[in-house]
Each structure stands twice: as structure tokens, then as C-alpha cells.
């Protein structure tokens, strides 16, 4: 167990080192959410009535969007390691599948923590003024990290099944798309009624609702618990699936 943990730590360090050197990719993945935030706030925001200033409404959604972009990169790096045989080196050093994936996920979460901070910084610069308590902030950050971990691990599992980096990039598309049909950018009531069922019950909506509640110090109801349950469920599925897939791919 401690072996697995130290392997995962070493591999996380490796992942972070490598992404530091692929700065262009990292910057792109950080700039994109910021650009989208600017587009939404300044281009579309004026036309969207959310009952608050639009920037206040949209920031939690942008943070979740940013998590999706970050998580998608996990699939690409896992799939590259599988394709290039780097994983064989790790396996002959007796590193198992779980520490291998945990290293990738930990690197992604670290990267994502950084990009989340940048997005928040940019949000403040354009007038985001949250009113959350310290506890609210902590809870919101914790939830976001749980979400990032769950989707990164899901993404890592997808990286195991795709044979090329391009395919790995493509299959994670849904993670980046998921915030759009949710309450991230527009209130769900404004969507066509056939979408309500999906939009209200998909994982991103309770996540965003609870982040809004926690950051703006408004009642969030049971949304945080629902969001947390989603994260736990997704993570469990991802762990089980990646375990099976890793064994299958390395038979």
C-alpha cells in the first residue's frame, strides 16, 4: 500500500514536470476557460437575465468547464503512455495499474488547481464579487476538487481504451460539453421543456448550484450532497472500470 502511494507520488511528480514543459498546451487549457468566460460575460451576458449580475452567475459554471478541459488531458497522457510502452517500464518496476493512473490523476488535479486559481483571478478582475463565508469557500473548493478527481479518473479510464492521443481527445468531448446543458450559463427554465429532465438531473447542475450557494452565501439546499454523491459514484465507476481495463489492456 505504501509502495503504491509512493509510486503514485513519484508519477504525479513526473506528470507535473512533463506538463510544465508542455507550457503551450497548459496555457491553452488555462486560457480557453478564461476566454469563454469573457465571451459569455461580455458578448452573451447582456442578453441573459439571471436575476443577478451575469458574471456572478457564470463563474461557477466556468470553473466546472475548466475542470472538464483539465480532465480531458488525462485521457491523452494515459493513452500516450500506453501507446509508447512507457507503461511497460513502470510495470517491470512492479508499479500496478492503480498507482499509475493515480499519478496521472494527481498531476491533473494539481494542474487544475492552478488553472482554477487563474480563472478566479480573472473573474475578480472583471467584477466577480462573491459573498461566501470561509467555510463556504472551503466547501466549494472541496466539491470542485472532488469533481475534478472523479472526471479525471473517468478520463484516465477512457485513455486506457483509446489507441491514439487523437481518439483520447475526442472521447473526452462529453466532459467538456456537459456544462452547457446545465444551469452553468443560462437558467434551466429558459431551455426547451424536453431538456429540463436531463439538465436538472445531470451531475453538473447540482454541482454548480451548490457552488453558487456556497460562494454567494445563499441557501444551497441538498445540492452539495447530491453533487458529492455524483462525484463518489462517478469515481467508484471510474476506479472499477479502469482496474478492469488496465488488466484487459495488459493481458
Amino acid at each position: 500500500m505504501s509502495d503504491a502511494l509512493s509510486s503514485a507520488t513519484v508519477l504525479a511528480g513526473r506528470g507535473i514536470r512533463i506538463s510544465r514543459r508542455n507550457l503551450d498546451a497548459v496555457i491553452t487549457s488555462m486560457m480557453l476557460p478564461i476566454m469563454l468566460m469573457l465571451v459569455f460575460v461580455y458578448f452573451f451576458g447582456g442578453a441573459i437575465d439571471t436575476g443577478t449580475r451575469y458574471v456572478t452567475y457564470v463563474v461557477p459554471g466556468v470553473l466546472v468547464l475548466c475542470a472538464g478541459f483539465g480532465a480531458a488531458s488525462t485521457a491523452v497522457s494515459v493513452s500516450e503512455d500506453m501507446r509508447l510502452g512507457v507503461v511497460d517500464r513502470f510495470r517491470t518496476l512492479d508499479v500496478g495499474g492503480t498507482p499509475f493512473l493515480a499519478g496521472h490523476v494527481a498531476a491533473t488535479v494539481t494542474r487544475n488547481a492552478l488553472s482554477t486559481a487563474l480563472v478566479l483571478g480573472a473573474a475578480f478582475a472583471i467584477g466577480f464579487r462573491p459573498a461566501g463565508t470561509a467555510a463556504g469557500w472551503l466547501a466549494a473548493i472541496g466539491l470542485l476538487l472532488a469533481w475534478i478527481t472523479a472526471v479525471s479518473w473517468l478520463s484516465a479510464a477512457l485513455g486506457l481504451v483509446t489507441r491514439t492521443a487523437e481518439a483520447a481527445g475526442a472521447v473526452t468531448f462529453f466532459m467538456m460539453f456537459l456544462p452547457y446543458p446545465s444551469s452553468a450559463f443560462v437558467p434551466i427554465e429558459t431551455m426547451p421543456s424536453w431538456l429540463h429532465g436531463f439538465a436538472e438531473h445531470q451531475p453538473v447542475t447540482p454541482l454548480i448550484e451548490s457552488m453558487r450557494g456556497l460562494l454567494l452565501d445563499r441557501p444551497a439546499g441538498d445540492a452539495p450532497w447530491i453533487a458529492l454523491a455524483w462525484c463518489a459514484g462517478l469515481l467508484t465507476v471510474a476506479l472499477a472500470a479502469s482496474g478492469c481495463l488496465f488488466r484487459f489492456r495488459t493481458r
Binding site: 509510486s7 513519484v10 514536470r17 514543459r21 511497460d88 517500464r89 513502470f90 495488459t250
Partner: protein, 326 residues
């Protein structure tokens, strides 16, 4: 002493394709063993099974005394593997790659750094150690990959697997890699390598197994294989067509082996043991008046001949090959 690698009836199928078909292998401790075969013969599969990366479909194998299925972790601690493609990170430096591998093998941070430095020195990468691997030549990458396989404490790597270690390398890098392999072997490590280059097997290996379509075609020392499956040959070029005719009939009369004749090129190959006495006698018998033979060359048996003879799917008898153009 127990053999370093011992495999009994290893088989493996991918779907309906039988990749390995009841393969038996035995590699003595401290020797260099070469698995020789054309593409698709099952070399990589064999290495992957022995290095515990793939499970055998059936059969058993022990590496460094441990069962490759039931004692996987023990096997992994006693081996290193350098695959066909260098498994190193392009965007880490050489030193970082080695430190990562050393830490994963269980060394604490400082010991890992020391080990990485030693290995860089040993594989002549010390100067390039702080450069990104992206800037390395093919030969440097392979050496780094070799080094990464040896991060465990010196002496604990008992069997080193090298899967086509020199494919795609230029001659100088190949030479450097051969030197590295010889050093490892001299230090007592058993080396198990696969190759499709006969010269490589000839120069490095104590024992060779020739693999074709997942089966053992032949096994033995390079010298034994050469004498069993190939022979020395005296290649003659006749002065003209009539001379060629005379030589061909004279040759058929004196030799028990078969004669290869290519009338269009006025050439002719006659088996010999390669000794000066035999060659001289043969020339005298074939061309007593010294007017028919224009030129001659002596073709020494090579592993190429063995390889071609063994892996030729049309299964020609050994002596019916085209005379090789040396």
C-alpha cells in the same frame, strides 16, 4: 546452477492466430542468448511473457528461479526490460528519467539521485544528463533506456531482456550498444536479446534459438548452427559458356553435395570445407588445364545462410540456394 530462463511448452494465441506454439527455452546463467527470427516470428511475445508483461496462454516458465505467473513480483525484481521502442519521456531530462525509474523501484530520493548519476556515467550520458531526452540521438535514447532498466541496486538485475535493441540505430550507436551489452554480460548479468540481425547474434550470443512462426526452428551455438545448416562454398566464374558447361559436369562428378549453377552469369557454387588444401585440390580437379576458371571467391558460411535456410517458407533443401553474392 539453475538456468536463468527456463520455458516449457509456452504457447500464446491472439484470437485465432497462434503466436507461440509450444516453445521450449533454456538460457544458462551468465550467458548471452539471442532469439533470432523474422518479423512476426513471436520474439516480442516471448520477451513480454518472460518479462511478466503478458500472460502465457499455456505452458510454464521460470526466470531467475521464479515462476513468471505465480511469482510475478519476484521476477520483476530480478529482471530489466528494454523494449523495441525506447520507453523514456522525451520531455524529461535523462537524469529525471532515471531518477523517476529509480524511485519507482523503491529507492529513496537521495539514493535514487546517486543511482541516476552512476548510471549516466556508466552509459556515457553524464554530460547529456541535464538535457531533455527530446534532444538525444537514437543511440543515446537506447542507452538511457538500458540504464533505466538497471536502476535497481547493482547485482540485483539477474536477467536483462533486450527486445531488438539495435533496430533503427546507425552503425556507431549499434557498436556502442553492443559494447554496453558485453560489459553487462562480463559483470555476470544474463542477457536475453531478440534480433533480426544475424551479425548481432553472431557477435554477441553464446547460444541462439531461431524462431519461425512461433516455433523453435533450430538451437545451438553460432558455430554449431553454421556448420549444421550452412556450408562453405567455392564460387567460380567461368571464362565462357563452354567452360561453364565443362565445370558444371566436372563438379557434379566430384562432389557429394549439390552444385548451384547459374549459366547466365557463368557462375557456379561448389561445396567445400573451406580449407586451403581442399580449395586448391578442387580447383585442380575441376580445371586441370587452368583455362576454364576466370575468377573465384570463397563464400564462408554465415548465420544469414542458416537463417535463410531455416526460415525459407518454400523449404528448399539447404544446398539449393542461390549462390550469395559476396
Amino acid at each position: 546452477m539453475s538456468p536463468a530462463v527456463e520455458a516449457t511448452a509456452l504457447s500464446k494465441s491472439h484470437g485465432s492466430v497462434r503466436v507461440l506454439d509450444s516453445l521450449d527455452l533454456r538460457v544458462a546463467e551468465g550467458t548471452v542468448f539471442a532469439l533470432l527470427g523474422p518479423n512476426g516470428a513471436g520474439k516480442t511475445t516471448t520477451v513480454r511473457i518472460l518479462a511478466t508483461l503478458t500472460r502465457p496462454g499455456s505452458g510454464h516458465a521460470r526466470v531467475a528461479g521464479h515462476d513468471i505467473v505465480t511469482e510475478r513480483s519476484r521476477v520483476r525484481r530480478a529482471i530489466s526490460l528494454t523494449g523495441q521502442y525506447a520507453a523514456v519521456d522525451e520531455t524529461q531530462t535523462g537524469a529525471e528519467n532515471l531518477r523517476t525509474a529509480a524511485r519507482l523501484s523503491g529507492l529513496p530520493r537521495r539514493a535514487a539521485a546517486r543511482r541516476a548519476a552512476e548510471l549516466l556515467e556508466r552509459f556515457r550520458l553524464a554530460e547529456a544528463g541535464d538535457r531533455l531526452v527530446r534532444t538525444y540521438s537514437g543511440g543515446m535514447r537506447r542507452r538511457l533506456d538500458l540504464a533505466a532498466g538497471l536502476v535497481r541496486d547493482p547485482g540485483t538485475t539477474r536477467v536483462m531482456f533486450l527486445d531488438e535493441p539495435t533496430t533503427g540505430l546507425d552503425p556507431r550507436s549499434r557498436q556502442e550498444l553492443w559494447d554496453a551489452v558485453r560489459e553487462l554480460s562480463a559483470a555476470g548479468t544474463t542477457v536475453f536479446l531478440t534480433t533480426q540481425y544475424l551479425e548481432e547474434a553472431d557477435r554477441l550470443a553464446d547460444d541462439i534459438t531461431v524462431l519461425g512462426a512461433g516455433r523453435t526452428l533450430a538451437t545451438g551455438t553460432p558455430a554449431a548452427l553454421k556448420s549444421r545448416y550452412a556450408e562453405h562454398r567455392l564460387d567460380l566464374v567461368a571464362r565462357d559458356r563452354e567452360a561453364h558447361l565443362r565445370l558444371t559436369s566436372a563438379a557434379s562428378a566430384v562432389t557429394t553435395g549439390s552444385v548451384t549453377a547459374t549459366p547466365d552469369a557463368l557462375s557456379l557454387g561448389v561445396p567445400t570445407d573451406g580449407s586451403a588444401a581442399h580449395v586448391r585440390a578442387l580447383l585442380d580437379v575441376l580445371d586441370p588445364e587452368r583455362r576454364d576458371v576466370d575468377r573465384f571467391t570463397l563464400h564462408t558460411a554465415t548465420l544469414d545462410d542458416v537463417f535463410l535456410a531455416l526460415t525459407d517458407t518454400t523449404a528448399l533443401p539447404v544446398n539449393d540456394k542461390e549462390p550469395s553474392r559476396v
